[in-house]
């Protein structure tokens, strides 16, 4: 099953065709939210008056290079943070991911206007890869952190006009790096990432 999927992806990447003026490189920034993989930690924090540890805000910096007609390689850094306050205390939780991914352009549409090509394109890529994940919390000077490997799978759609593109992205991060609280809860470095931002292709 996995081997078949890999072969399909490889074929899609190698057999597809690319226009001569298609982008070779892309860089982008997305802002968004990260719904953390909560195993009780965020619920426990809320019980003790520190609500919101399960959801972080932040962004993703991403760069990609097209290595075959439909096949891209990406490197990205993602960072998300949340702050829960109670009287004078602040619970800050941050998670970061440094990820390398392979992406396949599953769909590309370039409209024609009166028979002429316009410098606009809609592209949908599916991506998967892995990297290093960290998660850290800090409450009134007491902090914990954890790091470990993880996987990311996701999809992103980019609507571009010449070099400038607008991207909507979703990614699921799976990592066992985990913060454990004192009453049996855990917060993992993985979760669901959604974001929107700008990209530049050249």
């Amino acid at each position: 099953m996995t081997r078949t999927a890999l072969v399909m992806v490889a074929l899609l990447g190698l057999v597809g065709t690319a226009r001569a003026d298609e982008d070779r490189f892309t860089v982008g920034f997305r802002g968004g939210a990260f719904i953390r993989d909560d195993r009780g930690y965020a619920d426990h924090a809320a019980v003790f008056g520190l609500d919101g540890a399960g959801l972080g805000g932040g962004g993703v910096l991403e760069g990609g290079v097209r290595v075959a007609p439909r096949l891209w390689l990406y490197a990205s850094w993602a960072g998300f943070s949340s702050l829960a306050t109670r009287r004078m205390e602040e619970l800050r939780v941050t998670n970061q991911a440094l990820v390398a991914q392979a992406g396949v352009t599953a769909f590309r549409w370039e409209p024609l206007l009166a028979g002429a090509q316009v410098p606009m394109a809609l592209r949908v890529d599916v991506l998967a890869g892995g990297g290093l994940y960290t998660v850290r919390d800090e409450l009134d000077g007491a902090s914990h952190d954890a790091s470990g490997p993880g996987l990311r799978a996701g999809a992103q759609a980019t609507l571009s006009w010449r070099a400038l593109g607008f991207t909507l992205a979703y990614g699921y991060h799976l990592s066992r790096a985990s913060l454990d609280d004192r009453v049996g809860g855990a917060l993992r470095a993985g979760g669901n990432e959604i974001g929107a931002g700008l990209s530049f292709g050249f």
């Binding site: 009780g40 619920d43 426990h44 924090a45 019980v47 003790f48 008056g49 520190l50 109670r86 009287r87 004078m88 205390e89 619970l91 919390d137 800090e138 409450l139 009134d140 000077g141 007491a142 902090s143 914990h144 952190d145 609280d181 004192r182 009453v183 049996g184 809860g185």
Partner: protein, 185 residues
């Protein structure tokens, strides 16, 4: 990695005093040091251990102090607060609790009116015990208790709140509040 830094008790006390001055009658909290953060020589200010040997320790997180009542046997902690003026008989008692194993938890509220004796404090002036009311905790796990409680009359001006743990198991208490409810008498 674990690090810990101390907080300024003075700064916390200033915030607590500001909150207290807002007045219970205006919907403020009747209790002090609700989160056990204000430290008096290594013990949480305003709270007294009546029975057992609870540990003032981290609660759900190393950076969040609370009372750990775990272990076997009876443990009782108490806070006395007075004088106050109430404009409602209905109050909401809230607490962040952990209860596991065979531990039982009970919150007892002794209501007083001012006494006619002599002394520097409300409690020295022999206040009269008007009523003893209690609520048992049925939930298990890590949860927020929220109970509607009532005072015997609007004349009460003193309260002794006790957290009583019996049996053997894990029990923690933190974030204890007693505030006026939205319900009018």
């Amino acid at each position: 990695m674990l690090t810990h830094a101390t907080r300024s008790p003075l700064a916390i006390a200033a915030v607590a005093a500001t909150v207290a001055l807002s007045g219970a009658a205006c919907g403020g909290d009747l209790l002090g040091n609700e989160g056990f953060e204000i430290d008096c020589d290594g013990k949480p200010c305003d709270w007294k251990v009546l029975e057992g040997a609870p540990v003032t320790a981290a609660s759900w997180h190393d950076g969040d102090p609370g009372f750990d009542l775990s272990g076997s046997g009876r443990v009782v902690i108490e806070q006395r607060t007075a004088p106050f003026v109430l404009d409602t008989r209905e109050l909401v008692l809230r607490a962040a609790l952990v209860r596991r194993g065979g531990a039982t938890l009970r919150l007892e509220l002794d209501w007083y009116v001012a006494g006619a004796g002599e002394g520097p404090t409300y409690w020295d002036r022999e206040p009269l015990l008007v009523d003893q009311r209690a609520t048992s905790v049925d939930d298990r796990g890590v949860f927020e208790l929220e109970e509607l409680v009532s005072t015997p009359s609007l004349e009460v001006s003193g309260l002794a709140l006790r957290v009583v743990k019996d049996g053997e198991g894990t029990a923690m208490v933190d974030e204890v509040f007693l505030t006026a409810s939205a319900v009018t008498p």
